[in-house]
């Protein structure tokens, strides 16, 4: 990375931070039922939806009802998308005449998109109809992003002084869609089309090329998908090659916009956290540690020489810098879209990608990243309490033994569902079946698949090659557990804060810079200690062997 590239990096992240800070009052207002300037547009639409749902949007829910409502709504959403994918040839908007997906692939795909993961075992341009791309893929991208934000906001509500419950799931979900996701996606979709991304429902264009060879131009409703996939940290692309495919990401301008969009909401939600809490200072340690950990990931990735624009797996229009920047950002935010082949990345960039997916909060996916960062805050509060001999407390709330059990369980599920299936893939021969290889690169590719599934990221080495029974089923289960188990436990924890007595003692100042520093360190210690042996046998060994990328 040279000086001008460093400047580009600061410019992009600076714009993210400034706009996220400016949007925070609006985003926080969505969850405190504040009036917006577009109230006349939103309010009647929402009223109509609430009436159709038959729910009282103002009724506050406890954690169990909130969480369960979300899980049931997600299950229905996945079921609807499943029907569309399985029977896409019987529905309209299938100009290319694609067949329905196989049972295993359809199941894996709806779980993948329903859990905000977007791990893709198919190539969209050669297997999904327009209706599937819209009514299954984009639909689940909206639904899962809204659900993630709901989880994050609901978890915060447990810590707000005087909170009666975690809020109303239906109200939060609908308002997230109408006031955040739809307007943001509309604006960015139009911007993307203007910059060159297609948006049409006419069939693929077929032309006779200059030398007389027939060429198919796979177009479709691409821009509307790309916008929500980035804004909602979904990451699943219209095309198999994702944002490396020129029709999905035609030039450096779209690339920078797409980079910006994936950082925007996760960052904004951290600022919104402080406002929801009524203690803006408390957002500071979360922001500092999320961005410090992200900066550390960038630093490690940029330590190695960048691939050249001509290198295999790199698109010329992005070159090594924008490709590496993207790879780190997409894994730090749980987006999972890619603009270069992961095989083209230096082992150190892959190490960064792993770190992003292990931490899940630097700044993490929309909503879930906030929830995980709060989890780390509470664990750190406990550790600091142990060291100083004080009763651990956060915002005046005592953190007890039951809380710690929930926290540790929420943290430990993650390594469990990454490492066990990785070993299973080797033992069962499934890894060999997809030609993963036995060296460090093979282990990297297999472990990456499950790290990506568990953290609901979605980037992968294997791609459509992983469309096997073992990988479809195993990743589907890992995605489901990775999504709902830790967040469910954290919601239980947050729910138990309601009505808990608050102590206003001069204890630990969690908004201090010192605490932020300890927070970063404790996240690193937790994650590195858990995963180091596996990282050492994967990307670190590749690096020590002098490999410059996955091609050799």
């Amino acid at each position: 990375m040279d000086l001008s590239e460093a400047f580009e990096l600061f410019l992009i992240l600076g714009s993210v931070l400034i706009s996220a800070r400016l949007l925070a009052p609006y985003v926080a207002g969505v969850y405190t039922n504040s009036r917006s300037r577009l109230e006349r547009v939103f309010a009647p639409l929402e009223k109509l939806i609430f009436r159709a749902l038959g729910v009282d949007a103002l009724r506050v829910m406890g954690w169990k009802e909130y969480f369960l409502s979300a899980v049931i709504a997600n299950a229905f959403a996945m079921a609807l998308a499943f029907v569309i994918l399985m029977f896409q040839n019987f529905f309209p908007l299938d100009p290319q005449g694609f067949h329905g997906l196989s049972l295993g692939l359809a199941f894996q795909t709806v779980v993948s998109f329903g859990t905000n993961t977007n791990l893709q075992h198919y190539n969209g341009e050669s297997s999904l109809s327009y209706l599937s791309q819209m009514g299954a893929i984009q639909f689940l991208q909206f639904s899962s992003a809204a659900t993630g934000i709901c989880f994050g906001v609901a978890m915060v509500r447990g810590f707000i002084t005087g909170s009666k419950g975690l809020g109303n799931f239906y109200s939060d979900f609908v308002r997230t869609i109408t006031r955040i996701l739809l307007p943001f996606s509309l604006l960015s979709s139009v911007a993307l089309v203007w910059l060159g991304v297609p948006q049409t429902i006419s069939g693929y264009a077929s032309v006779i090329g200059i030398e007389g060879i027939r060429q198919t131009i796979p177009v479709g409703p691409v821009a509307s998908l790309v916008s929500i996939m980035q804004i909602g940290t979904n990451g699943g692309g219209y095309y198999g090659a994702n944002s490396a495919y020129p029709l999905q990401n035609p030039n450096p301008a779209t690339d920078v916009l797409e980079l910006y969009l994936m950082m925007l909401l996760p960052t904004c939600l951290i600022f919104a956290f402080g406002r929801l809490l009524g203690k803006k200072r408390e957002a500071r340690p979360l922001l500092i540690s999320a961005y410090s950990l992200y900066a550390l990931n960038l630093l490690v990735a940029f330590l190695a020489p960048l691939p050249s624009a001509q290198a295999p797996g790199i698109e010329v229009r992005f070159g090594g810098f924008l490709s590496t920047f993207w790879t780190v950002t997409t894994t730090s935010t749980m987006t999972g879209s890619v603009n270069a082949s992961l095989y083209a990345m230096n082992p150190l960039a892959i190490l960064s990608a792993f770190m992003g997916m292990f931490v899940q909060a630097a700044p993490g996916g929309v909503g879930s990243g906030l929830a995980y960062m709060l989890m780390y805050v509470l664990i750190t509060v406990f550790v600091v309490g142990l060291m100083s001999g004080r009763t651990p407390e956060y915002l005046g709330l005592k953190i007890g033994a039951r809380d710690l059990k929930l926290l540790m369980l929420a943290f430990l599920i993650h390594p469990l569902i990454i490492l066990v299936p990785t070993i299973l893939a080797y033992v069962s021969g499934a890894a060999a079946a997809v030609n993963a290889g036995s060296g460090p690169l093979g282990l990297t590719a297999i472990m990456y698949e499950f790290a990506s599934a568990a953290s609901n990221n979605g980037s992968d080495f294997l791609g459509a090659a992983a469309n096997t029974q073992f990988f479809n089923l195993s990743t589907a289960f890992v995605m489901l557990i990775g999504r709902y188990a830790p967040l469910g436990l954290l919601m239980a924890l947050s729910g138990s804060m309601i009505g808990r007595k608050r102590f206003f003692t001069t204890g630990l100042d969690t908004a201090s810079f010192a605490f932020s520093g300890v927070l970063v360190l404790s996240v690193l210690v937790l994650v590195v200690l858990t995963f180091l042996p596996f990282l050492a046998l994967g990307p670190i060994l590749s690096y020590l062997r002098g490999m410059v990328n996955g091609f050799g």
Binding site: E65, G135, A136, I177, P250, V316
Partner: protein, 157 residues
């Protein structure tokens, strides 16, 4: 859990939970999965039809390819895209690659190298403000060749 209203209906999986959840999924499908992409399509086709259709390029009124998709060129008189990249259809080559191919094109066509180099330089794109590094779109460059040298490329025009 003071202040929390108990959910209506019997049990967690009662009708009171299932019906609104199913309706929510259906409404989201219709609004976000159908209406939204169609709305964007309508806006895109009205405001930016060229981009919305995939930046199709025309030669004598006939679409011959897209700016955004590599087209295979096999003859030495044309610049050729690279064949390994992340997407497999990278439409661009680096400036150095284009200049190195200019020599072959010059030998095959008799067009002076200096003229080809100038054509390449005039076609450099890829800078957005300060982002990105220069590159050359192969299809655009070849179309320019066809139009600039009809005596050589006549049968392709």
């Amino acid at each position: 859990m003071g202040g929390v209203t108990k959910p209506r209906g019997p049990g967690w999986l009662g009708k009171s939970n299932l019906t609104p959840a199913l309706r929510l999924a259906l409404i989201t499908l219709v609004v976000c999965g159908i209406a939204f992409p169609l709305l964007v399509t309508a806006v895109a086709q009205t405001l930016f039809p060229y981009q919305a259709d995939g930046e199709l390029v025309k030669l004598d009124g006939r679409a011959v390819g897209s700016n955004l998709l590599a087209q295979q060129f096999t003859r030495p008189i044309f610049f050729q895209p690279r064949n390994n990249s992340a997407s497999g259809v990278d439409p661009d080559i680096t400036l150095e690659n284009a200049l190195s191919q200019a020599e072959r094109v010059s030998n095959a066509t008799g067009i002076p190298l200096a003229q080809l180099d100038r054509l390449v330089y005039e076609n450099v794109q890829g800078r957005f403000l300060i982002f990105g590094s220069p590159y050359v779109n192969v299809l655009k460059l070849n179309l320019l060749l066809i139009q600039s040298y009809p005596e050589i490329y006549g049968k392709y025009g």
